[in-house]
């Protein structure tokens, strides 16, 4: 079981990452691009947390009678990263809202067309 599972988590995470990446580069809608970025971010979080897991370990909150804990360091990095990712996502969405107000569309192709007309 362990041999087969060896890298399973990492591979799925990479597939998820590429899903988000594909949305960002292939889809013209700006809101969808931000959502693609969100998926990409979440997959990075899962990658870090997968690395922190130790076989047979438990959550890193110290208690009598337990000796194996998962690695707390990636947890700390990701905990703050989640909140920061929300803040940056909000900033991106705010930009989308302003673009929508300026151009009347949130479609990248249409925005390019309007820019060329000017």
């Amino acid at each position: 079981m362990t041999e087969l599972l060896g890298h399973y988590n990492y591979w799925i995470v990479i597939i998820l990452m590429m899903t988000g990446f594909y949305i960002v580069i292939a889809r013209p809608n700006l809101v969808k691009k931000v959502i693609g970025l969100f998926i990409f971010q979440t997959s990075v979080f899962i990658l870090f947390i997968s690395m922190a897991k130790i076989e047979g370990g438990t959550a890193p909150i110290i208690e009598e009678g337990l000796s194996v804990y998962s690695n707390p360091l990636p947890h700390v990095l990701i905990l703050t990263a989640i909140v920061v990712s929300l803040a940056t996502t909000a900033l991106g969405l705010a930009l989308v809202v302003r673009i929508q107000e300026a151009y009347g569309t949130s479609n990248e192709d249409d925005i390019h067309v309007q820019d060329e007309e000017d």
Partner: protein, 320 residues
């Protein structure tokens, strides 16, 4: 057995990801993103990251979904088909993915206790925390004490993002409550909101001050606190919510939180220690650590709650 749950959850996440790519309606995509967050949060619980799961639950399923919906409400719902064929992006994605998968082959196996990442700093944190910091939750001790600089930086980033959203979207105070057509008879919702609003705020305080002993801390508490006010705004209208907690007050609070954090650091210098050294704050170093951690968690909580509400007000007050 945990492996099986892990595999199934990852599989569901993958299916959801593909569905998000294919779905055209952006509102549906936003709903799927919320489900995606819920699933990844359960995955974090399986992987023993309870603090991270708490954060992802509070943020991914709650505020970020609300923001995406608010943005979709301000733009068009339907996504147009791309003008170019997606062959080039597909090729780029496939090549990048293959390269990354090739890279994972050298990585230590999943769950391997001998992996390099577990050897140096992490084992020292786990070993030293009970003696040096005296709090059971190692994540809190690393977050607030060992890597306090980092966290100060993150809080500043959040503050800056809040300022950025404020600069982009501004804010409008609503004198009159425009009664949205939405759920027209809000009686049930209002009763429940009145019942839950104080409980949510109380629970946020519990998460804030219980963060030393269980999952929780300033980041999560701030988000839960903001969610309480969002519930209030949903039930009683944005105008009333803005009368309860003024926008200028929010802007001040966002700065106050960061300043509390920095002040604790400078207090350490004044008392003869280094920046963000909590040991000197009290006679006993462990008590000093407790005090320092509690104060900076409070600062983090205030900033996060204020920024989340600034962002929410910014997006929702545009919908006129």
């Amino acid at each position: 057995m945990e492996h099986l749950i892990d595999i199934v959850l990852l599989g569901l996440l993958m299916i959801t990801g593909f569905a998000i790519v294919r779905m055209k309606s952006l509102l549906a995509v936003a709903m799927l993103t919320s489900i995606y967050s819920l699933l990844s949060a359960s995955l974090f619980v399986v992987l023993d990251a309870v603090d991270v799961a708490l954060t992802e639950a509070a943020i991914g399923a709650g505020i970020s979904t609300i923001l995406m919906l608010a943005t979709v409400a301000l733009t068009r719902d339907e996504e147009k088909a791309p003008r170019h064929t997606p062959l080039l992006p597909l090729a780029v994605v496939t090549v990048t993915g293959a390269a990354l998968i090739y890279g994972t082959l050298d990585m230590p196996h999943y769950g391997d206790p001998a992996a390099p990442v577990h050897q140096h700093a992490a084992s020292a944190y786990l070993h030293d925390t009970p003696g040096e910091i005296g709090v059971p939750n190692v994540v809190t001790s690393v977050l607030a004490s060992y890597r306090g600089y980092d966290t100060l930086g993150e809080v500043t980033v959040i503050f800056t993002a809040g300022a950025g959203v404020l600069a982009l979207l501004g804010y409008r105070t609503r004198r009159r409550n425009i009664q949205g057509p939405g759920i027209r008879k809000l009686v049930v919702l209002r009763v429940i909101a009145k019942l839950f609003f104080p409980l949510i705020l109380l629970f946020a305080l519990y998460v804030l001050f219980h963060g030393d002993y269980g999952p929780g801390g300033g980041f999560q508490a701030g988000v839960i606190f903001a969610t309480g006010f969002i519930l209030y705004a949903l039930a009683f209208g944005l105008g009333n919510a803005q009368r309860v907690i003024h926008h200028p007050l929010l802007r001040i609070m966002a700065a106050v939180g960061v300043l509390i954090y920095a002040a604790v650091g400078i207090e350490g210098i004044l008392l003869g220690g280094k920046f963000l050294e909590y040991g000197v704050l009290a006679d006993d170093p462990v008590t000093g650590q407790h005090l320092g951690i509690m104060l900076i968690e409070l600062g983090v909580g205030i900033t996060v709650a204020a920024v989340m509400l600034i962002i929410y007000y910014g997006f929702v007050s545009r919908q006129d």
